[in-house]
Amino acid sequence: MCGDKEAGEARYKKTCINCHGPAGKGAASYPKISGNEISYTTSKLKTYRDGIEIGPNSALMIMMARPLTDEEIVNLAAYLKDAKYK
């Protein structure tokens, strides 16, 4: 399934941007999530969506990932792969 970058960007700006910053660059103690392969981001989001803990902010990510559909996940991953701030 190929991701739709524009749809991914729109979905990103709904909630993800509030912690991870514009274009996934990271902000405060929330990590940079741009510049990764699509398979990496997809796998992380699906792991969180399944309720599995990875790092110290897992609880927050599990909460945020739970409502994501497969389509939204692959769109987000496609957007974030090449996303750049400014």
Binding site: T15, N18, A27, P56, Y85
Partner: protein
């Protein structure tokens, strides 16, 4: 036109003119607010500090201390472990989560003594502590430097506070990584003393403890000694001005009377702006088995109940209040963000008649969160505080036209407000 309608239209015309005059007079007192980006591409710029000529020192949380001179040059003065390109570095300084190099402020007599104070996380004084999250871990310090006349280097580093606690390991909490609730703002008060703000570092017993410096606001001199008039409860470390804080990252002093006001992050509820009282208790007590509570995850009740899920803020506030009224020496908040927590972390009183009706109000930077049903809310607010500091008369969202994670706020010598953002910019906000 008959006489009646002529009179009517004259009266109406006069009324319109009168209203026009009144509207005009009000409009002249409401300033036009504009912002310009003065720096960008920074990494987590945390705080700024100005000299009267406009020289700007600033910190980047994971990189170090730099200065932007009046001619526009940027000199990297003091780096941290793994920083590159700095004239000098402290390899004991590091960042993790909310911890790192944070507050910066020049001494009141900088023009004579070239003295600059910087707050940072450091492993230099860990000693035998820091082996678990449930013991004393001295991991935050206040350093004093001499700045060279050409602003190209700093020297004579002296650690004037060595024992502010730090959270060394992750714990079973949301935002539970190391370095949590690390406070970090430094400001010089009206009497020339140094004020240092702290956080509870996710350790339940911290804020109410008499000796631990976590969850406290300190008032000290340039050598790290307690202000002689500090008045905490008997048996408390005398450097403590107020205790019972959760995580204070904003402090400034009201121009009319010098009163200290803090801006503090709430736990899923109730960010606070609070007027400080010498020796007062900000009312935060996240320890387990107190205040009617049972055991809590990793002995910290700060996010309970159901800390990993969205819960009505009012329910959480009842369980572990930001300002627990069971304390007789409680300093109640002036403002509590309508019961929400959205990341309130910096504060600066607006100075200068160019600010019009906003002159003397307290600006606070709110970074935004957007969890559960709490709206994101990134903005700068301006509060018209009541004289007694126990309430606000009004709050206005600063009409900036954009929304960022505002991390640091400080007035410049040009009566502009400078704001740093987590996204990496420093903005100059003018009012005319």
């Amino acid at each position: 036109m008959n006489r009646l309608s002529k009179t009517f239209s004259t009266v109406t015309a006069s009324a319109v003119m009168l209203v026009g005059l009144i509207t005009n007079a009000n409009a002249m007192d409401v300033p036009t607010i504009k912002s310009t980006e003065v720096m960008s591409g920074l990494e987590n710029p945390w705080d700024m500090a100005f000299l009267p000529d406009g020289t700007m020192f600033y910190t980047e949380k994971c990189k170090g201390l730099s200065v932007k001179t009046t001619s526009g040059d940027v000199n990297k003065l003091y780096g941290m472990k793994d920083s590159k390109g700095y004239t000098n570095s402290g390899n004991d300084l590091f960042c993790d989560g909310q911890a790192g190099m944070l507050g910066v402020v020049p001494d009141r007599n900088f023009d004579k003594n070239r003295t600059l104070y910087v707050y940072s996380t450091s492993n230099k004084y860990h000693g035998d502590g820091c082996k678990t999250n449930f013991e004393k871990c001295d991991g935050n310090i206040v350093m004093r430097f001499k700045v060279s006349k050409d602003l190209k280097s700093v020297s004579d580093r002296t650690d004037i506070v060595k024992d502010i606690q730090y959270k060394p390991f992750k714990s079973n909490q949301p935002f539970g990584g190391p370095g949590a609730h690390n406070g970090g703002r430094l400001r010089i008060g009206p009497g020339g003393y140094l004020w240092v703000t702290g956080g509870d570092r996710h350790r339940g017993v911290c804020p109410q403890d008499s000796k631990l410096l976590c969850g406290k606001v300190l008032r000290i001199d340039g050598d790290g000694n307690a202000h002689p008039d500090n008045n905490p409860p008997a048996g408390f470390d005398k450097r403590i001005y107020t205790y019972g804080h959760r995580n204070v990252q904003g402090i400034d002093f009201r121009p009319s009377d010098g009163r200290a006001f803090t801006a503090e992050h709430g736990p899923w509820h109730n960010d606070e702006i609070t007027a400080l009282v010498n020796g007062g208790n900000a009312g935060w007590d996240p320890a387990e088995k107190r205040g009617g509570r049972g055991a809590c995850p990793d002995k910290y009740c700060g996010y309970e109940p159901n800390q990993m899920d969205a819960v009505d803020p009012a329910v959480r506030a009842a369980y572990t209040p930001m300002s627990d009224t069971r304390f007789e020496d409680l300093m109640p908040s002036a403002w509590n963000n309508n019961g929400f927590s959205q990341g309130t972390g910096s504060a600066a009183f607006l100075k200068g008649s160019n600010w019009g009706i906003y002159e003397g109000r307290l600006a606070a930077g709110i970074m935004g969160i957007a969890f559960g049903d709490t709206p994101a809310g990134s903005r700068i607010d301006m509060y018209d505080l009541a004289a007694d500091g126990l309430s606000i008369k009004s709050v206005v969202h600063m009409p900036l036209g954009f929304s960022k994670r505002f991390r640091g706020l400080v007035m410049g010598p040009d009566n502009a407000l400078y704001a740093s953002t987590d996204e990496g910019e420093i903005y100059k906000i003018t009012a005319d």
